[in-house]
């Protein structure tokens, strides 16, 4: 039961029920779509990049609490960051949710990089749900790379 509490922390429930930055962005923004064929989670990421900086970031879609909260928290966390920094956060986040041990960073410094995103740490105890937590992130990576294919996590 305790790992359920760890997974469904208040911040996760809150972001899943009231997702932040849940909108489209205007013309000129890039977007990419993500789809989890196993559970039907769908997400579209919209991003405005100016000179290597993520000026604005939003999403739309539907899915489980984990995928929606992860997308919502991601948009909050990456807005205003440089693309370079976003990739660093992505890598740290991926390690967090997959429970991977990092050689290059200590847990404390990882938590510092991730901030509120650490709320998704409980996912590492639920291997079947990692794909839910990472869907928005893979989609973002496609949007940044101007990759028109649909991001798929399975």
């Amino acid at each position: 039961m305790s790992d359920l509490k760890e997974l469904y922390q208040e911040v996760i429930i809150d972001h899943s029920r009231k997702p932040r930055n849940f909108k489209t962005l205007g013309a000129g923004s890039r977007s990419a779509e993500g789809f989890n064929p196993l559970c039907g989670d769908k997400v579209t990421i919209y991003i405005d990049v100016v000179e290597g900086q993520i000026v604005d970031l939003s999403f739309q879609g539907s899915g489980c609490a984990i995928s929606m909260a992860s997308a919502s928290l991601m948009t909050d966390a990456l807005k205003g960051k440089s693309i370079e920094h976003a990739h660093v956060i992505f890598d740290q986040f991926h390690q967090l949710v997959t429970g991977a041990q990092s050689e290059t960073s200590h847990e404390a410094s990882r938590d510092k990089i991730l901030g509120k995103l650490t709320a998704l740490g409980g996912v590492s105890e639920f291997p079947m749900r990692v794909k839910c937590a990472t869907l928005a992130w893979h989609t973002l990576r496609n949007a940044l790379g101007n990759d028109q294919s649909t991001a798929v996590t399975e």
């Binding site: 489980c64 079947m128 749900r129």
Partner: protein, 408 residues
């Protein structure tokens, strides 16, 4: 209840295990069923006392293995009421059975602008093989729509049946909703136009008495693992008149009579469709499963499961914010549902932590999900070893899920 479910449960070792410190409550029987001890032991006995290749050895073990394999075929034949063992083809499962018919029968009897009728509630395995066949032959798929309650629109079906219809392929029982389709009516309407019918029986054989001759279906496909048997073994029943004129699906050993570089002649039925060394142990395990089911009795099983379905439907309907999808008059013991504000996957994860195994997702029936307007559902599917108490634990588990999400 006169049905002694506790005695039945004793036969299933896995049902006494714990999951996340809770007694396992297994409600994912539409995905696969658990195996009775007799099935598990039949595999061990085969490998420790009879293992040999079949249909070719003169030695003792080969004869024993061949006899056991063919005895399993005879059991399947009796179990579904086929006219002859020549009509029982062992395959890997329902999916392979349908692919066999699509590629062997379909490619030789269906051509440009011909039509194949399926329905909106089919499992992907009874959609995609026909789509591929349509691409190969330039035939067209026609789809019977379903009602809001999850029943086939039979009037629409009869309108779709026409001169161009060359095959009807329909599920006996919907895996996602539990709807039992009126296949007798579907088959007789098709036959009135001279159209053969394939029935996907994957969800039916463990729950209903199936008699292929009474149904008069031309093909009937099912999987062993949904029938308390092993994975990797399944059955295609086909009327001999069809199977005889169909070319082999796969080729190699066992399906030939003689091979030379000037030409090859094929083996007789059913071996013509069984290329290569088959899943001998799997077939024997399936035979053991049929023995077990016949020991309990399908009539008693059906009656008991209907009681479980009624209890589950009634109790789940009372859960706040819960909607049951699939409310057909005739249903197998499957309850698909959604709960307001909680995604099915989150329900599945929370129930799992309480030892309850259900299926969440699209159930390999994406067109049906689209029709119902949901991306996914939570599905509790029952077997005759489930109990009324387990339904209560499921309902409690859903209350806990609502607690986690701040709903009362």
């Amino acid at each position: 209840m006169s049905f002694n479910v506790h005695a039945v449960r004793e036969n299933f070792p896995i049902l006494s295990m714990k999951v996340h410190d809770h007694p396992l409550i297994y409600l994912d029987n539409a995905a696969t069923t658990q195996k009775p001890r007799s099935v598990i032991e039949s595999l061990g006995t085969y490998y420790s006392a009879h293992n040999a290749n079949i249909h070719r050895g003169v030695h003792e073990l080969s004869q024993k293995a061949t006899a056991a394999h063919e005895e399993a075929r005879a059991k399947v034949c009796r179990f579904i009421g086929a006219a002859s063992e020549r009509e029982i083809i062992f395959v890997r499962g329902t999916t392979e059975a349908i692919n066999l018919v699509a590629q062997s029968y379909g490619r030789n009897n269906i051509g440009p602008d011909d039509e194949i009728i399926i329905s909106e509630m089919e499992h992907h395995s009874n959609i995609v093989p026909w789509q591929i066949l349509c691409e190969q032959t330039r035939a067209h798929l026609r789809v019977i729509p379903v009602t809001d309650s999850g029943e086939l629109k039979i009037d629409e079906y009869k309108r779709l049946l026409g001169k161009r219809t060359k095959l009807v392929a329909i599920t006996h029982v919907s895996n996602a909703l539990g709807t039992i389709n009126p296949i007798e009516e579907i088959i007789s309407a098709a036959h009135a136009q001279g159209v053969p019918v394939l029935i996907d029986g994957a969800q039916a054989v463990a729950h209903l008495k199936v008699d292929v001759r009474a149904l008069d279906c031309d093909f009937y496909a099912f999987s062993g693992h949904k029938l308390f048997g092993p994975t990797g073994i399944g059955v295609l029943y086909g009327k001999e008149s069809f199977l005889k004129q169909m070319p082999p699906y796969q080729s190699g050993g066992d399906m030939i009579r003689s091979v030379s570089f000037s030409g090859t002649t094929y083996n007789e039925l059913p071996f013509k469709f069984e290329a290569g060394t088959p899943d001998i142990a799997g077939a024997i395990g399936l035979g053991a499963a049929i023995d077990f089911i016949e020991g309990v009795g399908l009539e008693a099983i059906g009656k008991y499961e209907q009681e479980l379905l009624n209890a589950a439907t009634e109790k789940l309907s009372r859960v706040n914010g819960l909607t049951i999808l699939g409310t057909a008059t005739h249903k197998a013991a499957v309850v698909s549902f959604v709960i307001k504000g909680i995604h099915p996957h989150d329900i599945g994860t929370i129930l799992d932590r309480h030892g309850i195994a259900i299926r969440t997702g699209h159930h390999c029936a994406q067109p049906l999900m689209e029709r119902l307007g949901v991306p996914a559902t939570a599905r509790a599917s029952f077997a005759f070893y489930n109990t009324a108490e387990e339904v209560d634990v499921l309902v409690d588990g859903l209350a806990k899920a609502q607690e986690v999400f701040g709903y009362e």
